[in-house]
């Protein structure tokens, strides 16, 4: 039993070995395969790890790059904001015009009217410098530069701005607000409101300006003290006559007498403004023009000393200081000088009506070389314009009546025209003036004016 058992086991073992032989060969194959697969996997894993590492390295670089660009961006933003964080602003504005004028009885000519740049320098909301130059090309091709105004404005509080320097006269509205050519609806200034007319143009001194509510009426004001104007006289033999008021912002007060004045504007309803202006003080004759018979000879004035001795010489009368005495204007009497003005403007949509009256009165002088009676200059105009709805055409019409002490300068004028608004501040104007003055005088000649004005 035991032996048989033993044999049986043996046989079984042999059988088992014999049968398992091919199987073990198969297991070897599988093992190899597995091993290969594992190797492949390991390799892939390695590759993956490598590329992940590379990716991470790359990302690190990218992060640094992004950080760098964020820093750069922050810097750029900060730099781009610089203009908003400086305490000083510099700004250029102004206007220019070119044109063509044709007077009846003479040939027309092109003209460059003027280039009037305005410089603004501003320190926060506290101080502002305003300056306008007027650059004009004259008939003979010469260029004239005039300092139209130069003021330093100090914003004292919400209701008062203090203005010092040379400013446009606050009397009335034409000079301070309407004269720039992109604003004026006609191609010319109304007679009396230009230079040497009834309305003062500018002055040198101190001014306070601002606005406040007076109940429901908004009120604006301008009050000033200034050197005031000087006077011109004409001499015809021993006779002297007041010729004109030089109110062009003189930086010398020949008579030492200041002028005070101002304007009060009331806005009872938003579409209407009414203004009242006055100025009063003294003015003195500082120059004499010599008249030769009918014809007025252009005379040049020169200053022979600093005390106000002002002389005049006719062309060819010799050079200053060569013995020509000129006129001794040491003892001229300061005359009363009074200005009165009223103005209004009313707007409704594209309709605008405005008007203005001004009178400048100079009193008599009883002593001094040029002693003569007083004189007054007076002018008024009314103007209406209408921007035709849904178009860019704006017809406008203005009537002016200017009275001066010299009948050759008196003028009544109808000016009418049509404007084309290329933009709200680029305006092409065609104006015709019907002028009525002393027969034969320039004040009597009708004119066509074409103007292209650009306010910038």
């Amino acid at each position: 039993m035991k032996i048989m058992n033993h044999n049986f086991r043996r046989r079984l073992l042999v059988l088992a070995i014999m049968t398992s032989l091919p199987f073990s060969a198969a297991a070897d194959d599988k093992y190899d395969l597995l091993q290969k697969q594992v190797e492949l996997l390991q390799q892939q894993l390695q590759e993956l790890q490598n590329s992940l590492q590379a990716y991470q390295d790359e990302m690190k670089v990218k992060e640094v790059q992004v950080e760098e660009s964020v820093t750069q961006l922050k810097q750029d933003v900060a730099e781009a904001e610089e203009w908003k964080h400086s305490d000083t602003l510099v700004h250029l504005a102004g206007y220019a015009d070119v044109g063509y004028t044709s007077s009846s009885g003479s040939d027309g000519s092109f003209s460059v009217g003027r280039f009037a740049p305005i410089f603004h320098y501003q320190y926060r909301d506290i101080v502002m410098l305003e300056s306008e130059l007027e650059i004009i090309v004259g008939e003979n091709g010469e260029t004239d530069v005039v300092l139209e105004y130069l003021t330093i404005d100090y914003f004292l509080n919400d209701y008062v701005a203090l203005i010092a320097g040379k400013f446009l006269s606050p009397v009335g509205q034409f000079r301070q607000n309407i004269h720039p050519s992109w604003i004026n609806k006609l191609a010319s200034a109304p007679p009396g409101f230009g230079h040497d007319g009834a309305a003062p143009t500018s002055d040198v001194g101190l001014q306070a300006r601002g606005g406040f509510h007076l109940g429901s009426v908004f009120t604006n004001y301008a009050a000033y003290i200034s050197n005031g104007p000087e006077l011109n006289s004409t001499a015809d033999g021993d006779e002297f006559e007041l010729e004109g008021i030089v109110a062009e912002g003189l930086s010398n007060d020949a008579d030492g007498e200041k002028v005070i004045g101002g304007r009060l504007g009331f806005i009872p309803i938003p579409s209407l403004e009414l203004g009242f202006s006055v100025a009063m003080g003294k003015a003195t004759v500082t120059a004499v023009e010599v008249g030769h018979g009918e014809e007025e000879v252009y005379a040049e004035k020169f200053i022979t000393d600093l005390q106000g001795l002002v002389g005049i010489r006719s062309p060819g009368a010799g050079d200053p200081g060569d013995g020509d005495p000129g006129f001794d204007l040491h003892d001229e009497q300061a005359r009363n000088y009074d200005v009165l003005g009223m103005d209004f403007v009313w707007t409704l949509g594209g309709i605008q009506v405005r008007g203005e009256y001004v009178k400048s009165k100079v009193g008599a002088a009883t002593s001094g070389l040029t002693a003569s009676s007083g004189a007054s200059w007076e002018s008024w105009y009314t103007q209406a314009s209408y921007l035709l709805p849904q178009t860019k055409f704006e017809p406008s019409v203005r009537y002016t009546d200017f009275n001066s002490p010299h009948s050759s300068q008196d003028q009544r004028q109808w000016a009418m025209g049509v404007n084309y608004l290329i933009s709200n501040s680029v305006i092409a104007k065609l104006t015709y003036e019907f002028n009525e003055g002393q027969a034969g005088s320039t004040a009597d000649i009708n004119r066509w004016l074409v103007q292209l004005a650009y306010g910038f």
């Binding site: 991470q56 781009a80 602003l89 603004h120 607000n177 921007l387």
Partner: protein, 203 residues
């Protein structure tokens, strides 16, 4: 790991977007002086005061900083108070954003609930639009359309009107533009929809 990197990138781009948003909103806001005024009062002043002496100037004529100098120049010329100057200035600076460019808005800036209108259409109209369009809708400044015209601008689709009120609009050859949101940056989309509905109903 990968998720972390992605988050980092997302974070950095968000920072980027915030910075961009900041720089965009900064170009819309003013200098550090003067302090901002009330644009609604400013629009009224602009419609009534700024055409008294000369043709009203389009807000788009000048850049924000240029408007500062001009506003102070006009304060002196027109006898405005300091407050009026700031009001007009803020209105001009709000209204000169380029037309039909959707301002880039960083979504994170939107405060919860700010999309709901707090105002009725008639309130929006009376506060912001009346200055130029008038209480009767016929327009009170040159260039403003007549809303009462049955074939007029209000016969256009709500969507078109919405985008023109929101982004501003200037028709070809027009001298004056409709400022974005009427110059009042506080108006949100719901306010604009409310006022359009109100205008269509009333005119």
């Amino acid at each position: 790991m990968k998720k972390n990197t992605r988050n980092t990138i997302r974070f950095l781009f968000t920072v980027n977007a915030i910075l961009l948003g900041l720089s965009m909103s900064a170009t819309v806001s003013a200098t550090h002086f003067p302090e901002p005024g009330d644009p609604i009062a400013g629009a009224k002043l602009w419609a009534t005061t700024c055409s008294r002496c000369h043709n009203a100037r389009d807000p788009a004529d000048l850049r924000d900083d240029q408007w500062i100098s001009t506003a102070f120049h006009m304060r002196v010329r027109a006898g405005l108070t300091g407050q009026q100057t700031r009001d007009v200035l803020t209105f001009m600076q709000n209204s000169n954003v380029p037309i039909s460019v959707e301002p880039l808005v960083f979504k994170g800036n939107t405060q919860p609930g700010s999309e709901a209108s707090n105002l009725s259409g008639s309130e929006v109209y009376a506060q912001t639009c009346i200055a130029c369009h008038g209480s009767n809708g016929k327009g009170s400044v040159p260039g403003a359309p007549n809303f009462t015209d049955p074939q007029g601008v209000l016969s256009q689709s709500d969507e078109l009107l919405f985008s023109r009120v929101k982004n501003g609009f200037k028709s070809p050859g027009s001298a004056m533009a409709m400022p974005p949101k009427g110059g009042n940056n506080k108006l949100n989309d719901a306010d604009i929809r409310a006022v359009i509905e109100y205008m269509k109903k009333s005119y």
